[in-house]
Amino acid sequence: MSMNDLQWLTWVRGTGFNIAVGIFLLGVVWRLIEVYTLGRKPDLAAPRHVPGASGWHTIVRRSLPPPGMLARSPVSYIGGYVFHVGLAIVVFFFAQHILLVKQLTGLSWPGLPSQLINLTAVVTMVAMLAVLVDRIRQPVKRFLSTFEDWFTWALTFLPLVTGWMATQHLLLPYTRMLALHILTVELLLVFLPFTKLFHAFALIGSRWYNGDTNGRKGVPV
């Protein structure tokens, strides 16, 4: 272990981390203000009330594929579920991550066995590769894709692969790989508010607006 690696690790854990979290938090707040303070005009049409037709229902309902859609695009749905759920498990239930949150906030919850986290990380990476191949192969996805789509895919994949390699002691010395892992997480945090990754926050508002607009017509969407 060279001093360089240790210094680097210290920086990404300290100053780097603070900068990244700062940009992330300010960015998210800024984007939320930028989007939602635009407001909207009140709907003057007499509403029709139907059970299950509201913004809140749509926030939940849109997590499931609408009728017929799973068969039309199985990779999007299955790959999408696996990688989102997998990512959430790895991020929030890996013991070291929980420890970090505890140090920062005092909050703590039980983690999952590292073997299970390891397996989940591998499955998640496979799912992410599958959706990447799908993006390259499917004419519509390829047509829609811009630099941002490939860039954000990499931003999401890198923390996963470096974190997994660090725990498996692959390719690089642990300290260097861990520093790299933290650095890639920081890049993800910095870019999240300003790229399509912001859907992690905005989709709640979008589903609510769609559900509310159509819910007022008595249509559960």
């Binding site: 407001g39 709907d43 695009s73 047509f143 769609n210 607009t213």
Partner: protein, 429 residues
Amino acid sequence: MSASLEKGIHALKEVIDAPIASYFASCVHCGLCAEACLFYTETGDPKYTPIHKLEPLRRVYEQEYTLLGRVKKLLGVSKPVTDDELAEWQELVYNSCTLCARCSAVCPVGNDIVYMVRKLREGMAVSGHAPHGIDEAVTRTVTTGSPMGIKLPAVQAQMKHVEANTGLAVPMDVEGAEYMVIMSSMEIINFPEYLESVARILHQAGKTWTLCSTAFEATNGGIQLGNSDLAGLIVQRIVDGAERLKVKTVISPECGHAYTALRWEGPNLIGRPFTFAVKHIVEVLDEFRAQGLIKTEGFETDKLTFHDPCQLARRGGVIRQQRNLLGSVAKNFVEMPDAGFMNWCCGGGGGVTAIEEAEALRLEAFKRKKQQIEAVQPDRLVTACAVCRSTLEEGLEHYNMAIPVVGLTEMIASHLVETRPVANKEPQA
């Protein structure tokens, strides 16, 4: 920048609200909206992906309403929206979009894509990039009263015809009637059986009703064109008529967009709530059925299926009613795959039938409907929208499918237990 383009961009800036900003901020380019759009599924051309149709609106949003976009604009690295681009987009925003809203029903992040297409059309129309066919139809509605140039004498001629056929009085401008009936041009010209059916049904239900000499036309191309000012003028005409005659309810005819325009957009277009209710004829018929106000006899025995007009079902929330009604007069009713909320559009809505140059694409997109129809092989097709009906008839003829299309109101009327025709009761003023 040309003056018209400037107006167009200004209009786009005006329509962008928090929902639109949220939708663009949420899109992950998954392309699932394409799988819900019949113009993509039937052509396989990715340019018909619904979210792509919004690209000019997205860029105006990014350049005007996001910090990063404004910085990019300042540095001169963002791509401005041009007249050439909007001209190219006409096919995507109008010809290949019926405002059917299947895309809005499937988007996993919840984007109401059709809401945005409707708004983008505001900028397209004002910058002179709307198709002539729709533009002319709206101009005719504003100047003559109807998109097909139909004037009051044509309606009066039909009233006489119905009176002669049924022995019932067809009231016009009767103050204090419970219902005011409006029609689509298509019903006045091509489907005269609608007025006759409505007259017979309302007579049997014992309801007072009236036509209105200053507001007989229901269709509103203004919302298809994307011109809220003109759409508002057309709505105002109906509101003025209904308020002058002090009716309780205006019955929107078998026309999908007329219903959306009046029922949902109407109060927003004129800037105040209505003093009367707006109901689609199918809603009214089902109420009468449930209240036992109309008695039917006999059943259709051939195999029937129902085509849900998008604006009535997915965009209007009327799905159960037509099935209740069919259940009361049909023995052999079969649902098409995806019927109801997720029904596939006929391909003619949103003004598409008014665009001559869109005909080939529309017939190509009709293959989706054809497939749905072939899955159940009905003897007849029932629907409740005059535009769907003529689009279906054209499509079926084009693909050599001999399946007649009938309106639901007409079908219900044909099963009425006939009472002796008497003059329509005069309402108490």
